[in-house]
């Protein structure tokens, strides 16, 4: 892995190897916190920062950590990063910190982060590791926010409720009401709604991929057909 392909890292993190839609890692926070857009965004940012910093730290120390003890070391690195983020959130975004509750400390156990530390950062230089953390974190965060927005719209009938928890007092009237209160589909914000929503997102992703493959295959067959009997297509 001497030459790192940044384009490949971007495609992998955001789409082809998306941690939430393809690897299906870190399901617990993904399903539990995606009930409103702002909760999802808060957790997405916290996870993004964690994975970038932990990837960077693991990459720096990768030559000094013995293989036998690497996992405990990585876990300690991640845990320290999460502790710092938790304290920062407690100080500056207190109501969001209260809303996310146990799921901030639980970022430590998000297997996506240790998977990137073990699978990528421990074998690559600092810059690629930071970039990989950014892309994987963004891929996870995007799914989290999309799922959060979809569940909030269907379940609460609103968008950006409690935005002031993240953006301060200026965001107090950002809430957009899309559905009347008595017609919201409460199932969406309950746990089964999270599973159904994630399932639909995965299905949409697979559908788009399948479509792309089919188109490629058709194009290839057409090219071959044109090469074999040029008169027919002309």
């Amino acid at each position: 892995m001497s030459e790192v392909n940044y384009r490949q890292l971007t495609i992998d993190g955001l789409w082809k190897n998306n941690p939430a839609l393809v690897q299906v890692l870190g399901l617990c926070p993904l399903l539990a916190i995606s009930n409103t857009t702002i909760n999802a965004l808060g957790l997405a940012i916290a996870t993004l920062v964690t994975i970038i910093v932990s990837n960077g730290l693991v990459s720096i120390i990768r030559d000094w950590v013995r293989a036998e003890v690497r996992l405990p070391v990585y876990v300690m690195v991640i845990a320290s990063v999460v502790t710092v983020i938790e304290l920062v959130m407690k100080a500056y975004f207190h109501s969001l910190y209260l809303a996310l509750g146990i799921f901030i400390p639980l970022i430590v156990t998000n297997c996506m982060i240790i998977a990137r530390a073990e699978g990528f950062a421990s074998k690559n230089a600092l810059m690629p590791s930071l970039y990989d953390g950014l892309m994987i974190g963004l891929g996870f965060g995007l799914v989290l926010v999309v799922l959060g927005a979809a569940r909030e719209i269907v379940g609460f009938g609103t968008l950006f409720v409690n935005a002031d928890q993240l953006f301060g007092p200026m965001a107090e009237n950002w809430t957009i009401t899309l559905l009347p209160e008595d017609k919201t589909f409460l199932l969406a914000i309950m746990p089964p709604g999270a599973f159904i929503g994630l399932g639909l997102l995965i299905a949409i992703k697979q559908g788009i991929d399948r479509r792309g493959q089919l188109k490629q295959k058709l194009a290839k067959a057409e090219r071959r057909g044109a090469a074999q009997n040029p008169t027919e297509t002309a």
Partner: protein, 343 residues
Amino acid sequence: MKFPVQTSPHVEANQDVARVMDQVIIALLPGTLVAIWFMGWGVLFNVGLAVLTALVVEAVMLWLRARPIRPALNDHSAIVLAWILALCLPNLAPWWLSVVGSLMAVMVAKQLYGGIGFNLFNPAMVGYVILLVSFPEMMTRWGVGIAPYADQLTLTQTAAWMFAGQLPAGMMIDGLTKATPLDAVRTELAVNGHIGSVTASIFDPSVSWNLWLNLAFLAGGIWLLITRTIRWHIPVATIAGVVITSGFLWLIDPSRFADPGFHLLAGAVIFGAFFVATDPVTSSTTPVGRLVFGFGVGMFAVLIRAFGNYPDGVAFAILLMNMAVPLIDYYTQPRAFGHKKRG
């Protein structure tokens, strides 16, 4: 002379899915008619909308899954599913409630699991429970009474209410709806600490619509038994489960727990025992397993009624026991001829 040699089976059962489903539809008719008599035209709208939605959704899902559409629509299973679901819905609910319920039942609970024969959970009950947890206020809009009671809406009034939300002048939705007996018991228990005399009126044929409705469903259930569409195990075990569990609680404290007769006649026990729990796909398939399954449904229904958050527990009990079916079937396999009993 040539004798053609045929392989077995030489005698074919005169039974297929459509025939079974048609028997269930026939059996649902008396209950549906009594429900329309006591609750008005809303029941008819619910059934019609749910059946229509189910057929459309079934066709669309099969088309998306690239499966043959015509045979699946002709087996009438979607009609039965939607009909059973519609009979669980309140008669003064808005039109979209039965549409959403039917959509979720067919799309999520039936077709996403692979269509008829592959669903883990009873689709009608999944649809009902989704509606119950998602639209709690809409699901309480029961307007019932001994017919023809004064407030019953006419056909056009019902249509105006269900589709446009307009009631005739001077009428309020809160005035039209009434607490069901199971609701009344809960309220009484919460307010006075004992169930009082609420349960007694259910046995009086001049005021109790529940009595007539359940008798109609019982008649339908007996028709299913006579035509051998269902076996006796599940209904009998369910009713036994309800009677034994509620009897046990009632003997402990008759002021807080309703008697077994009330539990049988209020709510969905008879309907659930004969029409829902007997679903051949999601219920147990061995004779002993059917007894265990039915008893579990009855027991959990009473326990959820007595200690749960919702007035009726039959739907939840059926879904719970659906989950246990693979386990029950595994432990109750009958001994095959020539094999020793497993130790």
